[in-house]
Subunit: 233 residues, 4 copies
């Protein structure tokens, strides 16, 4: 399809139509994922944004228009943007955080990027801001992260200071991802989670895994650990 | 439309029909919002009430009839009332708290007012009653409040003592809103949240933002903050 | 309708058909309420049971058959029983706790009785078992209980020791309700809530109010109260 | 049906068709159960797996294919496997944990095995790992476990150390179940719950009961117990 777009008119037409179909398919898939996240309370109040790569070369992303109710997403809620976050299809403005989506896609070759604002990510990133990281280890659910094969894995979930300067923040994100290519996500302090995947479904799985683990980490920290083994009854 | 209502019969008829259509549209929109809040547990047990402005001049509001199950709202669950909380359309009685809705619309020119009773607003307003306010700062989600552009914003969420005397309480609300026009909402102690917006959708967004933030504030207060930076693994 | 059942055949036929229609209407209404409670996690694992009065004289109740998944209730999930908990219509066995439903209907003339097993009622009744009561005061939501007009009301929610001997337990329930006719519900220790109302809808409202308030009471007890008034910012 | 499969061609055909219908019926039933668990957050991120016995002799199980989104399960999400976890019908790979399902079915003659990953099971099994067990007693909800007749029952819920070696783990599970035939479930540390039943519906009920009780146990441990009886008001 991508190589097809360099050929003659008829083939290009087909490629165009195919690209447009891919946009629609990705936008519909992201919309369904987003409505599910809204139902769980992870993207309340128009928070959050979602993108997927239509093509890497040239770079084209389907991404949520800014300011929409995520409980009412459909394919028309998405615009198509290029590598500079310029709108090249659909109507609306890309999310202010489009630069972060682009940084992640560029650095890691991700196929989809999902950003949520949950209670647990907000609370956890606030409580651990001074350390700059949450380390998660020992949980079976870690195996839901791409490439992780055992619960003995330690996932390093960095916390970046929040900012309204998206250019500056996208530079910090780019730097972080260059240093730490093994990451599956990061937190913005008292803001939320960014995670990604090769596909929309993998990125969705990563959101579910991280949201689960963050709740577990907070709840476990409130619970005393039982001592030794006075088993049975 | 508003000016149309001062003209001759045919035009007035049209205006009437338009006002009636506006009532139906707002009532339907509020009903959908209310059913969603019920699903989240924010208006259980017939609690809560919702209104939207049909016209400011003369003042006409669509508002929930009192005592209804918010999980079963539809357009017929709403009545139309004037600036004195008298019913001028539909059947039923306006909520006892209609005077508070009117005070908010009058003072701030709001287009919609939403009142919810959540667990988190009840608990938070009880715990902070002696201080008379909850201050919320540093959270990205604050940007979901109209006109807020940065997480560095401090939102002042006042707590008014609860009362069954709605006339007296509406005077206190009016006074509060005159002194503090920058507010986006307030709490009634161990009762719930009032918030508003230019439109039903903005008011809905404000409910979601405040409900999210109140849960965050309570949960964060229970969590110790990590010290300094022994990063990495 | 009730008096009609003492007349001649044709009228009795009509009364019968009417009674049968009333059974169906109440069973359908209870089924819808029950599915909603299941969705909220208040009657998991076939727990809970629901009844409504078809007639007081003779006493006829529609009540859930024992052991059903409350997420799959429909009218066929209910049987009709008499004042001795004997099945007089429908197929199935009444809940083992049918005697408690009968005691409540007999003592208070209730039209519907609902019993739920929630996490909050289980935890709250366990923590306060030694005191034998939870007192709830100061919350606006108390006004959702029949006849309560102010948040300054104190609701006395007794905790009865749990038992598998339903005859013995129904005697204790009867005694409690004779002494305390102002009650709106009671807890069985580490078991759940019983509440009732003149109608199914009122009883449903009472469940929602109590479930809300029990969660509030537990969460509020975990939260320190702020001191005095260093207001504003 | 099973004996029918030893006869002549036509009967065998019928038996085959019947076995295939049984597979479809069980797969559809498990799919519905799984989607419900996903909605409650018990099998996020493709976690969890579900099986039911088509026949014991020869051993045939319908079991979830590995790596599926449990919110989108349907009958096609299941494969049929034999007593060695070899696929004998449907397309896909059985869950890596198929050996544990087989161990449970073999040792206890269970008709269905359900495995969930909830926040509460993860937190509870982590906090009590050193003791190797959670004992649950005194709760009415215990009666939802097969054969339990009173809340005075003590349920012994063992915690096995988690492992990625399924052969080794299935040996430990087999040994546990031989020693403790009265069990209704067990936990894998910081991983999740295994429970079972004679039917899919009984196993579903056991999941709901255990998930409820685990949340109760964690929440109750955080709550101080009230002293004695300064009753009334």
């Amino acid at each position: 399809m991508d190589s097809g777009s360099q050929r003659l008119a008829p083939a290009a037409d087909i490629a165009c139509s195919t690209a447009s179909e891919k946009f629609m398919a990705l936008a519909s898939e992201l919309a369904a994922v987003g409505r599910g996240f809204y139902a769980r309370g992870w993207v309340l109040g128009t928070s959050g944004n979602f993108s997927a790569v239509i093509s890497h070369e040239p770079m084209r992303l389907a991404i949520t228009s800014t300011g929409l109710d995520k409980g009412a997403l459909d394919a028309a809620s998405f615009i198509e943007m290029d590598e500079s976050a310029r709108v090249v299809g659909g109507s609306g403005k890309p999310s202010a955080e489009a630069l972060l989506h682009l940084a992640i896609v560029r650095e890691l070759g991700a196929g989809a990027v999902l950003h949520t604002h949950s209670v647990w990510s907000t609370v956890l990133s606030g409580a651990n801001a001074a350390r700059g990281v949450v380390e998660i280890r020992g949980y079976e659910m870690l195996k839901g992260l791409g490439g992780v094969r055992t619960h003995e894995h330690t996932e390093w979930l960095p916390i970046l200071e929040n900012s309204q300067d998206m250019t500056e923040l996208s530079v910090r994100v780019t730097k972080l991802l260059r240093d730490r290519r093994e990451l599956h996500g990061f937190l913005l302090r008292e803001h939320g989670l960014y995670t990604w995947g090769a596909t929309v479904q993998e990125a969705k799985r990563h959101v579910e895994i991280f949201e689960f683990l963050m709740e577990v980490v907070v709840r476990a920290s409130a619970l005393p650990r039982a001592e030794s083994t006075e088993k049975g009854s």
